[in-house]
Each structure stands twice: as structure tokens, then as C-alpha cells.
Amino acid sequence: MSAKSSSVGSEVLVELRGIHKTFGTVEVLHGIDLQVHKGNHVVIFGPSGSGKSTVLRSMNLLEEPDSGSVKVLGVEYGPGVKGEKQVPRGKAIELRRNVGMVFQQFNLFPHLSALDNIAVSLRKIKGTSVKDSQERAAIELKKVGLLKWAANFPGQLSGGQQQRVAIARALSMDPKVMLFDEPTSALDPELVGEVLAVMRDLAETGMTMVVVTHEMNFAREVGDLNVFMEAGNIVATGGRDFYDNVTNARAQQFIGSVL
């Protein structure tokens, strides 16, 4: 089953076609098709082991598909769909510079302060000057409400704060698309809200987002395209009214158990 964003006509930023992925002897993705339109917020949900993280990670090639097409901003990156004519492929590093990612475990660099997590990344990746990179880092930290904590190291920040720094770090690279891999799953319940608030603000700015999450209320709020996955397949998709009108029995059951 393929999934397409509701706003037909707008530019497609990310397109997956026929993504197959095998870990060892287990095929975890059985041919995924997914389109992400500019400005849309795609929510991927489903039981653990259903392949939702793998779909997300194939969008920036942290997981290289065995076959299938990963097309981002009009450039082909994946190994290609079997049987199709091969086209020139872009380099993963160029893809990743246009696509930001936020991880479940935050993955801040523990040896750098919150400010340097952003500033050093900017310097090493974009070659920004020390002064410019620090100012940009300060601006990004301010946006997530953590400017005051700029000199703190990740170990001195709460999980929610760390995740907000991680979001700020990803945004400082000026990505065209942001990927969120269960960004609140490792957080204490009381800290989930602050991270979702930052993501909500980001969604309102019109950023194109793909979010793997179990936060169904958040999904209901921001999800332009909602994708339910099970056992390596997309089994149900829908637009803004998806959660009220879902017909697929498994999706209904899953939403019911999470809400």
C-alpha cells in the first residue's frame, strides 16, 4: 500500500519507492512507498518491530536499503528499484546535509557544551567562522528556550533539555526536512511536554517533518499524513481525520491501546 500526502500538487521533498530492507535473514521492510510533500507533517506509528524507525532511517541513509529508491529534493540516492534503469546517485553526505534528524537517545556530544554541540558542528560541517557559528548556536538555543543553559554540558541537562538542544543542533544546519525518531520515548513523562511544544512550534513554521512517535495526541494535532505500519508494511494511511475515521481494524486496535 502506498502513502501520499494530502496536499496533492505541492512539491515532493522525500519519496520512497519499493524500499526493501533485510537484517540478517529477516526482511523488516517489504517494499515501502511513501511521499513527503513540502510543508507536510507525516506521522509514522505502529507496534515495535513494525519497521517504522527503519523507514525513517532509510530517508537519510543511516539504514541503506537493500533495494528501492530514496529520492530527496529531486536527487536519487537509494540503490534503486529492482528492474528499473539505474540513474546517477547522489552522495549520502549531501543528502544528510539537507535532512535533519533527532534521535530517541538525543545523541548529544557529551564532550561539548550545549553551545558547542551546535557551534562546533556548524564549524566542522559548514566551515562557519567561530563567531558566526556561536551566534547561530545562541539563536537556535534561544528558539528552544535554552539560551541560559548554553555553557552546560549534556550531562548537566535533563533529558527534555538535551532533546531540545538536539533539535536546535539539527535545525542549525538549515535542513529542508526534519526526521524525528521517537523523540520523546526516552523521556520521563513530565518532560515529554516541553519537547512536543518545541516540535509543535516547528510544525507551525511550516517545516517539513516526518515523525515516528507513540504520542497519538500529538499525531492527531500535527499529522497531515498518518501512516500505520505493521510487520514491515504500511497497512493504513489517512489525512487529518485519520484518527476519527480509521477503518483498518489493526490500526483501530493499536490507537485504542495507546490513547
Binding site: I93, N107, F109, V120, S121, K124, K142, L147, K148, M173
Partner: protein, 252 residues
């Protein structure tokens, strides 16, 4: 029955130690010089071996693994004899005793440091690498900017205790005539015949060095904490923190 007064009287000339203190100290200097040069070379080669061993390029990883397993098993005494005499016999090139000592130590300890670095590099969560790649860093950049600094922190305490071992192993270089602590002790003993006194002094010197090395490496460790708590790094980051404070004031 055995009675202690059957033995000839024993006199301990402890004053010998003080009289010959400068000879012993010079011996200690030589031990430290050899081991410090060898520390630098074996850390560099050890890191290179660790990277080779973890590489997916089979010949490189096999070479590194064999090197480690062979040289970890050779005693320092055998190593230095082989380097000093063997090299001369085989290739007709004579190392100085200092060079032979450095090379012998480097051959052995680069194998140990390789294992220390491998463990430290493997201890870095794979999320660090993924985060760097996802931001758009090259693999080389991920290694130099993210993995290596974090692995160094983990490796430092182990490097410290290895270095104490290196200082001690310089004692075997007495056999090729390197005038380090044990050689000095042997020479003094030859003229004074006070082995208990002189070797006790040598032991005390080694223990003192071990304490000093421990102290220094603890200091280094502190500078690698997140955030750094050591004096040097606090001094270095003082200006940086002031700049951050200015930045915060400017943008808030």
C-alpha cells in the same frame, strides 16, 4: 639448632644511598627519558594498530591482530636484547642503548596500547557516530571530532597504569648497559657489596615514580571530564565561558 649468631654480622650502610644520591637520580632521569619517548611513540602506533584492527580491510585487521598477539607476549628483556644485538648481527646497524631501549619498549607497549584504544573506541555508543553522520559529517570527521576525543578520555587511566609498567621495564635495559636505575645500582653494588641497601633504594625510587605518574594522570583525567574540573582546562576555558556569558547577554 640454627641460631642467628651463627651468621656473620650484617651491617647495613644506609648512608651509601645518600652518598650516591645523584648517581641514582641520574639513573632515574634516564629511565624516565627512555619511557617518555617510548610512551609517545607507542601511543601513536597503538592507536594506529587499533584503527587497523577495527578496519573492515582484512589484511590490515589481520596484521594488527597478529602484531598485538605476538608482541604482547614478548618480555622486555628479550625484546631489548633482540633489538640491540639482533639488529646489529642481522643488518649491521648499531642502535645506541637509548634508541634500543625506546624501540624495545615501543614494540611491546604499542601492542598493549592498541588493545586499550580498541576497547575505548568500541565503548563509544553507536548513536554518536549516527548523530555525526546524520548532521552531515564525513566518516573521518566523525572519528576525529567525536569518537577519538571521547575514547581518549576512557583510555587515559589505562595509559597511566601502562606507563608505570613502562618505567619499570626500563630496568631490564641494564643488560645492554643503559645507565638507568638498576644499572647504577649494580655498579654501586659492585664496589660496595651492599645489595640489600642499594636495591631497596632502587625499589623506593620506582615506587615514588609510580605515585608521581598516578598523580599526573589523575590531573590529566580531570581535564578530560565533562565539564573539565582540572586546573589547566579550567584556566583554558575561563575565557571561553566569559565569551558564552557575553553571548547569552547579547541574545537574551
Amino acid at each position: 639448632m640454627f641460631r642467628s649468631d651463627d651468621l656473620p654480622p650484617v651491617n647495613f650502610h644506609w648512608a651509601l644511598v645518600w652518598e650516591n644520591r645523584w648517581a641514582l637520580v641520574r639513573g632515574l632521569e634516564v629511565s624516565i627519558q627512555v619511557s617518555i619517548v617510548a610512551l609517545v611513540t607507542s601511543v601513536a602506533i597503538g592507536l594506529f594498530l587499533a584503527i587497523s584492527r577495527m578496519s573492515s580491510f582484512k589484511p590490515a585487521s589481520m596484521f594488527a591482530a597478529s602484531y598485538v598477539n605476538i608482541f604482547r607476549g614478548i618480555p622486555a628483556l628479550v625484546s631489548v636484547i633482540w633489538v640491540y644485538f639482533g639488529w646489529s648481527l642481522l643488518f649491521g646497524y648499531n642502535f645506541t642503548v637509548f634508541q634500543a631501549g625506546v624501540i624495545a619498549l615501543t614494540l611491546l607497549y604499542s601492542a598493549f596500547f592498541s588493545e586499550i584504544f580498541r576497547a575505548a573506541l568500541q565503548a563509544i555508543p553507536k548513536g554518536q557516530r549516527e548523530a555525526g553522520l546524520a548532521l552531515g559529517m564525513s566518516r573521518a570527521r566523525v572519528f576525529t571530532s567525536l569518537i577519538l576525543p571521547q575514547a581518549t578520555k576512557i583510555a587515559i587511566p589505562n595509559i597511566g597504569s601502562m606507563y608505570i609498567g613502562m618505567v619499570k621495564d626500563t630496568s631490564t635495559f641494564a643488560i645492554i648497559g643503559l645507565v638507568e636505575v638498576v644499572r647504577v645500582t649494580q655498579n654501586l653494588n659492585a664496589t660496595n657489596f651492599q645489595p640489600f641497601v642499594l636495591y631497596s633504594a632502587a625499589a623506593v625510587l620506582y615506587v615514588c615514580i609510580a605515585f608521581a605518574v598516578d598523580l599526573i594522570f589523575r590531573g590529566i583525567e580531570k581535564n578530560f571530564q565533562y565539564p573539565p574540573t582540572g586546573r589547566i582546562s579550567r584556566f583554558l576555558t575561563k575565557g571561553k565561558n566569559q565569551k558564552v556569558a557575553v553571548l547569552i547577554a547579547k541574545f537574551s
